[in-house]
Amino acid sequence: MKPVQPPRLASRLLEWFCAPHLLEEIQGDLHERFVRRARLFGEQEARWQYTWDVLKFMQPQFLKRKPDDSGKPQTTAMLRNYFTIAYRTILQQKSYAFINVMGLALGLSACILIFLVVRNELTYDAFNQKADRTYRVTVHGLDYNPSVSFAIAPAFRTDFPEAEQVSQYYYRGEGQIQVGNERYLEESYAFADGDFPQVFDFDWLAGNPKTALQEPNSIVLTQTMARKYFGDQQALGKIVRLDNQWNLKVNGVINDLPSNTHLIFNFLVSWETIRKESATTNFWSINGGYLYVVLPEKLWAERVEARLPAFVQKNWGNQLTQDKGDLILQPVREIHFDKRYLTQITMPRSKETIYGLAGVALVIILTACINFVNLATAQAVRRSKEVGIRKALGAFRRQLVGQVLGETTLLVGLATVLALGAVFAFLPLTKPMLNIRIDASQLTEPLVMAVIASIVLATILLAGLYPAFIQSGFQPIKALKSRNTEVGFGNLTLRKGLVIIQFAITQVMIIGTLVVASQMDFFLNQDMGFEKEAIVSFPTGSKADVLRQKLQDNPGVQQLSFASAGPAFNNNFMPFSSPELGMNENDVTELKMVDENYIPMYHLAVLAGEPIIKTPEGDTVNNVVVNQTLVRRLGIQNDADAVGKRVRAGNRPAIIRGVVRDFQSESKHGKIRACVLVYNPRAFWQVGVKLNPQNMRETLATIEKDWTELNPESIFRYEFVDEHIAKLYKQEETMYNAFRLFSAIAIIIGGLGLFGLVSLMAVQRTKEVGIRKVLGASVGSIVVLFSREFVWLMLIAFVLAAPLAWYAMDAWLQEYAYHIQIGPAIFLIAILVTFVIAALTVSYQSIRAALVDPVKSLRSE
């Protein structure tokens, strides 16, 4: 007979809710009663009773689980164990932990720094709320010119009433401020109209942005200037004198300009101050400045741009018969990247350079991660026993993965703390080294913090995932059985591959640095086509004739020349053509107005004809000297043939009297363009003086004294021509600095990794080395044994790195009109340097391993 069974549902219910430690006795008691009841009252009744009994057991005290203090381990216990093991591993392998943490810290700090720099670059002029619909009106005539005539702004206002703001900005450069009896020479200032503060959102510390620049004779100071002039006093309402010409009332103080704007000024003067005398109707007037317009939100710039030709035609149609000129709307956020505008006040930077820098960051962090992966996989072998035991004791794979990732997180976390410290320490140096100001406050912005967090997270995953899967993948039996778990072949090739990548990165960085360095060297020492040693340049000031006399009497002065500007100083453009030679279209040429000493003093080589000849008074045809480029532009191959030819320069007839060899006439490093030298005393704004190399200081002091006597109201400021040229390449220099810094970091990280890897290898091969020595191997042969493999890897890496580096650096060099050729020497040096680095790191460890007494290494088994 089949024994009666209690109702299954009730049983299930009881099993579900009842505390496990009470279940057995309760179930037993209920079952016993059920059996008895079934016998006494029948099965049906017993089932009901049973269910009823079960329900009555639904009380808290039967539901409550027994507090567990021995059986199941707590999750925190395992975590504690992970921490303990991680701590012990780090202590046991101090040098590897050190290499890992240092490498990661270096990599992370470089990465964070580059991120800040790149962010700074890419957010140029983004501080304005209306930045996305603010445009600069520029003109494209013979070339791209960022300045437009002052005639445009009023006409634009009339013809485009829908424009929200139309603002005139006029950069003036150096200015002299007088406060009381103190005089200050400031690097840059600009005029701006009342709408300007509505276009650009400055940080106003005092004054009303709406009215500050409305009135004539108003000035708005940046905070640094206000502090300099008035200390802690209230600057608002004070009067300052500008250029011995205007008395200006301080109407506002703004915070210093952010680092990421194309605007540069120490103070702004209201446009009203000079509006009347600047008024013009000439489209081609050289009196011009930047014109900014803010378009309404829903108005497409293309639509406005499409109407510009008609606008130009309507207002200045009669002036555009000979030269064509198109107005362009340039988005304000593009200004920093637009390389078409050669005469811009701030040099644009190409986006490629910025992305290149971001690429360098990526490469650096990659190198650090490769180190980590290499060392961790190599070390994984040592920990195979630990993994085997963990697995035998029932660890899941994902727990082991979690453990390794956790250890990685620990190290990366440590590295992050160090990296943030390093970044903080380095931030004040970014201005002098990289010419980019980065405030520490940027680090706490939510976006920056989020990006840093994701960089760290990505690093953890990149560095930790692979070792985690390797380590957790060990077969416990194999891991526990053999003393030396052999590393899988695939693993070894991967490690070799990573070493190759690292070598390749190092070599690319070295080649890159060498190319940049030699290009820099080329910039600074190239033959500019003129003499630049011991020549100082300063403004003429008033009373040029008296000054000339005094300078000539000065025994320290060897030669002197008055001119509009020295070679490689600021630019003056004018159109030129030559109908006589069939050249009817205007081209643009550089114009230098010089005296007769200019050519001899700067050692310009006269190739044909004669040096400067004064144009006789009243003569309508100018005598000019031109450079070779202009002669070629006219289609004349022989320099001598050009002498006597007629051209039109600045829409005036001229006759070529002489031809000089090309020299760097403009300040920017574009290709040398056509240049015209003409004698014109009215434009002698600059004096160039060649000093006697002896007693230069005294001579300069005398000149300063004489100059100041003639110009008591002004501050004397001079500049050596060679220093001026060095300054022109400041942007390249900062770029070079950045490159040098970051490639040094990449190389150090690579070296650290190699060092760690070799030392691990040496430890693993201790016995092998011992046996070899017993069998008679020399120290040298063991060092060779260790190094041979790395030399191979290095050569393979070089094969990869060389074309890559050549391609990248060649593209970079193409940006410069005059650049070096990448020769084999650079590659040779690069491979030698890598070889030396590798040799130093490998040899130290391998020699140490080779010197170990075999008795010691073979003693214990």
Binding site: P6, L22, E24, E25, I26, Q27, G28, D29, L30, H31, E32, R33, V35, R36, D53, K56, F57, Q59, Q61, F62
Partner: protein, 112 residues
């Protein structure tokens, strides 16, 4: 005065365990209670009381053998601890003392 924290039901259960000696487990105790007091007690109440008493240290228990009628499950057999025994004696002493203190006229006569 030392308090023995026992409810009336707990006291009865504890006494029943003592009555049953070595065979005191859930069903037996319930049956004995039924028989001795005529009260229909639920088995869950008995279990609850037993575990409370064990927590208080007046009972101790061990698992007995499994039997077929229990579906192969073991019984938990209870026995009174020294603390339990002392508590029962205390209670009884208090009761006796109280009984002794009642004057013959203190209680209405009850016909038995």
């Amino acid at each position: 005065m030392r308090r023995s924290y026992l409810g009336e039901f707990e006291e009865v259960v504890l006494l029943t365990v003592a009555v049953l000696g070595t065979g005191a487990y859930g069903v037996a105790i319930t049956d004995e209670l039924d028989r001795q007091t005529g009260r229909a007690v639920s088995i869950s109440a008995v279990h609850a009381a037993l575990h409370r008493l064990e927590e208080k240290g007046m009972l101790k228990s061990h698992l007995g053998e499994a039997t077929a009628e229990r579906g192969g499950r073991r019984k938990r057999l209870f026995s009174v601890t020294i603390l339990g025994s002392r508590t029962l004696h205390d209670i009884r002493a208090v009761r006796d003392q109280l009984w002794d203190s009642i004057s013959p006229q203190g209680l209405p006569a009850v016909s038995l």
